[in-house]
Symmetry: C2
Subunit: 189 residues, 2 copies
C-alpha cells in the first residue's frame, strides 16, 4: 500500500497526544480511489476467512468498510451512535470510549441484520487502543455471530490495540502501521 | 436503476409520516454493489457539470456519495455534525432540521478542503424537504464554491424538496422517486 503510506507521510499531521490527522483523504475529505484500493487489499487479506458481513462504526469507518464490503461481495453494517427512528425498540447496544471525543459513546446495531449464522469481519479506519473494535465485537457476539477478523487502514502500534484484541483470537491486519509519533514525528514501519 | 427500485419495493418499509425505512441496503446495512451501481449512474448523469468535489452530510449520505466520487474521480467531503479534534477552530457551520431526528442539527466543514475554485456536486441518500441539501449548499457557498448539481438516491416527491432547491438553479437528479406513501403504500414513479 505505497499510495497509502505516501499520503500519510505527505498529508498526515501529528497533532500531539497520539492524534494523527488524516482529514485530507480519510476522515473528512475522502479519496475514493484510495479507499477502493484499501478495500481491495483488505478483501484480499481476508478472502479466506469466509466473512458474511462487514461491521464498522459510524462515521469514519464507513468509507474503508464499504470498499471492503464491495470487494468481498458481502453487506456492510455500520453501528450507529444514536438511534434513528427507523431502528426497532430492541437493539444490541454497547459503549466504548471515543479517543477523538474524549467521552464514552454508544454503539448499536439492529438485530434485523446480524444472526448466529454470520461470520463478521470488523473494519475500521484506525486501530488505536482497540476499544471501538472490541465494542463492535461485543455487538457481533451479542447477536450470536462469530468475529472472524479485524482490519484497519492505519494502526498506531504504540496504543497497543493489537494486544487488547488478542482475546478475540482472530487475524488482525493493518494497511499502514505508525510506530512512532513522539516529538511531532510520523514514523511508519 | 431497476435493482434499486426492486429493493425499495421488496425491502422498504413505510413507517408512516413519510418515513421510508431502507435500513437493509442503504441506511444501516449497506449493499456495496448497489451503492457502486448508484454511484456509477449518478456519475453518468452529472459527468458534464465539471464537479471538482462531492459534498454530502454524515452519516447516511457517505455510502452513495463515496461511490459517486469514485466514479467521477474527484474527492468526497462529508460535512460533520460534531466537531472532531482534528478540525480547525474556524469552520464553515450551518444548521438544518433533521427529519429523522426531529431537531436541528449542525453541519460543518473545514475551510481546508473547499475553495472558490471548487465546483460542488451535492449527493445525499434522500431528497425529502431539501433542507439538509440546502444546508450543504450554504456551506459550499460560504467557501466561495459553486454548487453545480444535486443528486439523491431516493426522492420523496411529496415533501417538495425539488421546489425548495429551485433557487440553486442546478440540475437535480434522483435514482428513484417515491410519489405516494399514503395508507402504508410505497408507490414509485
Amino acid at each position: 500500500m505505497k499510495a497509502l503510506h505516501d499520503r500519510i507521510l505527505i498529508e498526515g499531521r501529528n497533532l500531539g497526544r497520539g492524534i494523527l490527522k488524516v482529514d485530507s483523504f480519510l476522515n473528512h475529505q475522502v479519496d475514493g480511489s484510495l479507499m477502493d484500493e484499501c478495500g481491495r487489499e483488505l478483501a484480499r487479506r481476508f478472502e479466506s476467512v469466509g466473512a458474511t458481513k462487514i461491521l464498522t462504526a459510524e462515521i469514519s469507518g464507513i468509507a474503508p468498510a464499504l470498499a471492503t464490503a464491495f470487494h468481498l461481495g458481502v453487506p456492510l453494517i455500520y453501528a450507529r451512535r444514536t438511534k434513528p427512528i427507523t431502528m426497532p425498540e430492541q437493539v444490541y447496544l454497547t459503549t466504548a470510549p471515543s479517543h477523538t471525543r474524549g467521552q464514552m459513546v454508544e454503539l448499536m446495531i439492529s438485530p434485523e441484520f446480524l444472526s448466529s449464522e454470520d461470520r463478521v469481519l470488523i473494519i475500521d479506519d484506525f486501530l488505536a487502543t482497540g476499544q471501538t473494535i472490541l465494542g463492535l465485537a461485543r455487538l457481533a457476539q451479542a447477536a450470536g455471530a462469530r468475529v472472524v477478523g479485524v482490519g484497519a487502514v492505519i494502526e498506531k502500534i504504540f496504543e497497543e490495540g493489537r494486544h487488547s484484541l488478542a482475546p478475540l483470537e482472530v487475524p488482525v491486519e493493518a494497511l499502514a502501521t505508525v510506530i512512532d509519533m513522539d516529538g511531532g514525528k510520523i514514523v511508519l514501519r
